[in-house]
Subunit: 334 residues, 2 copies
């Protein structure tokens, strides 16, 4: 049983997309799971009225009133000036034990700040990491960090490896997940100063480390040492490559349509690459569950994010992360 | 009139692909241009015999004997132990004024080392940069550095901007090229320590600086401030994203074919993204012309690289780079 708080006011298409996504999720999830819509009651009720919700679904919906909204253009510091925003209220409910997870398509920087403030970080961590799922030619791969940390130390990359491995186990169901370090050559001595140091630390970090992987291994989902479950990089590289990946499919579709190919068939074939369908990226490292969705998330994307949140709660991912970080010897890599 | 030295022994398909590419180039270039095939005379003559070269083309071909070959797996230090390799002999001809440009699909690290050793760097530069052409939805964009420099200072990023701007002017024919700085947000304060410093320096570098661009702006070829000609990044990020881009098209083709789309049509539509057709990446910053081709270059790719080399010679790109670097005030950004 999981109670998922959803930011009804977050994202480019709020409150329509979140509310519709919540209803889609209720249709697919077991009946013990509930969704808490956080935001302006009137706006939420209006959407629910428009969508003609069944009584069974209505019984699994709760509205948590939050009069304020953190806008997409607000600075992360807005979490201090807007304590009654849907984001702060939703995360506060989790901190107070009244909710199990939080999902938002709103302001990412603010969600990070609010999550760190209200849920707090696991001991030993300096910053959380955003874990994104990359579609590949093989299985999907967890890439982290995707933008929370721009200048990373080698120790932080090792922490990302631990966080990503737990995520791959608990959410993607991978056994002994294989972790690669993103670099510019397969040999340990290839890379920049930080990745070279991280390579050495990762070989002794007690995880299944496949060594360096290159940019080309990411869409392939595999390296010369085996198939990948997790790829670790700093948040600068991770963010650049995530946004690049998101933009490549539309370019290709345009080229194909120009050549006379049928657009519907193309979109169907490439839907695995469509980020608007993806289920949100968890902010790993906070003591709780906080799932970041793309600002332009569709109801289907919100639904998928809610399902990821449920999995995170059901699998006790957060406890596993805490234990994984604890087992590291003090003064060790992480 | 340009004399282009071509490494006949370099690349996965040598000497077949280089020799065939040389002949294709002669067919397309003005009759004043010549190609110098550098390598083992016997192997080259055998290829030429097989290809039934016309007398007119034969008159514009020279063979420069080089008994040794730097293998793809050799370390860059092989340039010292193999002074009679095709790479060293070809670049030596340029240093001695007997050739105007060098093109190779061989060992990239060795080509960089040999180019620095024999052609030397322009004053004020510490390292050369590899400039790669990225196909985009708009015009193609020069991305540098693509892998020559992994840990870059802000000053080096500014130098890349100058080098890339000259390349965009002289080879791509862009007037007042627009330069973007690859980062993780459009605002100047977004990025890592180095890009934030570089942003400040670039606004005063006397180039047309469009500010930060994000990963998604690269395939689009445009940012919110206008269309892009040059994108600057460190060689770690540049290399990761280049290899990623190269691998994405095959993934998409696989997905489309699986959905029943015709492979020929797809390949035709996406041929702009096929790096095996691309004309090589110049090593900018050396006092001369050295063009790096992909190891698996086809004859068409070699031909295109030779044409880029001719353009670099004809446009006096190297003099322009020297002048552009000289005009920087001593103690200034570059």
């Amino acid at each position: 049983m999981a109670r998922i708080a959803l930011d009804a006011m977050g994202g480019d298409h709020a409150p329509q997309a979140p509310v519709a996504g919540a209803l889609e999720a209720l249709g697919e999830l077991g009946s013990a799971h509930t969704v808490q819509l956080v935001g302006r009651r009137e706006a939420i009720e209006q959407e629910l009225g428009r969508l003609a919700v069944s009584e069974a679904h209505r019984a699994r919906l709760e509205i948590i009133e939050a009069p304020d909204v953190i806008e997409m253009t607000d600075k992360p510091s807005a979490v201090r000036s807007k304590p009654n925003s849907s984001m702060m209220v939703g995360l506060k409910a989790q901190a107070d034990g009244k909710s199990d997870a939080f999902v938002s398509a709103g302001n990412t920087g603010a969600q990070m700040a609010a999550s760190m403030l209200l849920l707090r970080l696991h001991p030993g961590l300096k910053r959380p990491a955003i874990a994104t799922i990359f579609p590949t030619a093989k299985k999907s791969v967890v890439v982290l960090d995707s933008g929370a940390n721009v200048d990373c130390s080698a120790d932080e990359l090792v922490q990302f490896a631990r966080l990503g491995a737990v995520y791959a186990e608990d959410i993607l169901g991978r056994e002994k997940p294989a972790v690669g370090l993103l670099s510019i050559g397969e040999e340990p001595e290839k890379g920049n100063v930080v990745t070279k140091e991280a390579h050495a630390l990762l070989t002794e970090a007690g995880i299944r480390f496949l060594g360096n992987v290159e940019g080309r291994d990411l869409p392939a989902g595999t390296s010369q040492h085996g198939d990948l479950d997790v790829v670790v990089c700093d948040g600068f590289v991770g963010n650049v490559i995530l946004k690049f990946y998101e933009a490549v499919a539309p370019l290709m579709i345009r080229l194909l349509v120009k050549e006379g190919m049928p657009e519907t068939g193309i979109r169907k074939a490439l839907r695995a690459l469509d980020y608007s369908e993806h289920g949100g990226a968890p902010l790993l490292g906070v003591k709780g569950v906080s799932i970041i969705c793309h600002g332009r998330s569709s109801p289907a994307a919100i639904k998928n994010a809610i399902k990821v949140a449920v999995q995170a709660v059901d699998s006790r991912m957060n406890d596993h992360i805490g234990r994984r970080l604890e087992t590291v010897t003090p003064g060790g890599a992480a």
